[in-house]
Symmetry: C2
């Protein structure tokens, strides 16, 4: 397929490189900043452009991968009204494109991309959506060559996915940050927890986190909880957090209608 | 070394097998229940006993690995007053043994053990403590043959470690359980989050969780937070949890004296 990349950030770069590797032709890279456009264009041996009026009209696919707040602006100026355009944003509904282009859809890779770490594209869940069966099939074929995990996910499901990721990733990470803060006070390096954290995660992914939940709050072990709260007396923040989350856990596992949840 | 195992649970079993593999001789396995004692004794080719009066007096080391609430009871009846006894509990101070035996210490493996999953002992942090330098060296040599990660951790530090593990593992797991609950409502399987969770964890372990914190609360992105809270309107629990943790994050990253934390 002949593909135009609209955007040249982390996600656009990872996606363009993966597509090129699979034999697709990246014909142009658009970015508002010349430098970004040039960089990805060089990597994909394509033309760099900084004005949307220069976008070619005969590409098979236009991939819009810019920051959420720049998305509508690019859509408004997108000149190929009868083209097939997909965006890659987690929390933007597919219909954002409906007044700007005939064929549209979404390819949302559920992963975080950074310049320092390379991730294996084959393992990334690709969430697809399109405004026609025909275009959905095109997208499915394209995505299936990139990843082993291709799924049909509606705009509404994608929104839920985004909130779920906040719980599972941002909030989990924050709990680890608090553990780190606590250990620092005792001059213990956070890395001591690495094997235990990895094992906890693998157990949760193997069974299910609700099944693999352990700890004093899960057991309703009030004595240990109180001992821990005493130890946290130096920090109102840690005490409140410990207390709030412990209560939520105990409540979840003792409320009859929710048992096992 | 000639070693007596006092206890035959998950941890005792894993530890005894690892020690035997390193050429140590397990001479006896004590457990209150005949069946448990027999099982581990068979695995380690040793004698099974169910009464503490039968414990041999010439072992080099006695490893006490029973449930926290049974620990003192075993200590009181332990007959080898001039022996070297260590316990393996996270939240029990070393001094629990001081009125019962001359030489004592702690070997606390910071890992969770289950029958279904085998863990690599070489990667497990072993936290050591002893009531004399001489015995500490004995313990250090023993532990160093089992794991690459041997550390001196005081009883007080071990307590903090235990609370930190509650944050980093139990609470993180709970955040994942809530993500799972949320996805279930949309008929999305939790495993879709697996690559993102693994990448989040590896980033946190590579840098530091406080450095790698991301998400709407970290950015102070009130608009997204409100959109998410709206989406969670069906569940007071999820809404409260989202709100509480988000506020804690925002507060941590905007309070001047805590910036970067």
């Amino acid at each position: 397929m002949k593909i135009v990349m609209l955007g040249a950030g982390n996600l656009a770069t990872n996606l363009a490189m993966a597509l090129k590797k699979k034999g697709h032709e990246i014909v142009q890279v658009y970015s508002r900043t010349r430098e970004s456009a040039k960089k990805l264009a060089r990597q994909t041996v394509s033309e760099d452009i900084t004005r949307l009026t220069r976008v070619v009209h005969d590409a098979d696919l236009y991939i819009l991968s810019v920051k959420d707040d720049a998305l509508e602006e690019v859509l408004e100026d997108f000149p190929v009204k009868d083209g097939f355009l997909i965006h890659t944003a987690g929390s933007v509904p597919m219909d954002v494109a409906k007044d700007h282009v005939t064929h549209y859809g979404v390819l949302y890779p559920l992963q975080t991309f950074s310049k320092e770490r390379t991730v294996d594209f084959r393992q990334i869940p690709l969430c697809l959506e399109a405004n026609s069966d025909e275009k959905y099939q095109v997208l499915k074929t394209l995505a299936g060559a990139l990843s082993e995990d291709v799924r049909h996910i509606t705009s509404r499901q994608r929104l839920y996915l985004h909130v779920a990721a906040v719980f599972a990733c941002n909030f989990s990470n924050y709990m680890m940050a608090n553990a780190e803060e606590l250990l620092e006070r005792q001059d213990i390096s956070f890395d001591i927890l690495a094997p235990l954290i990895r094992e906890t995660i693998e157990k949760a992914l193997q069974d299910s986190p609700s099944q693999s939940q352990t700890g004093p709050a899960r057991r309703g072990d009030r004595q240990t909880i109180d001992r821990h709260l005493n130890l946290l007396a130096h920090s109102g923040k840690l005490q409140n957090l410990y207390s709030f989350v412990s209560n939520a856990i105990t409540n979840d596992y003792t409320t009859p209608q929710n048992s096992g949840k």
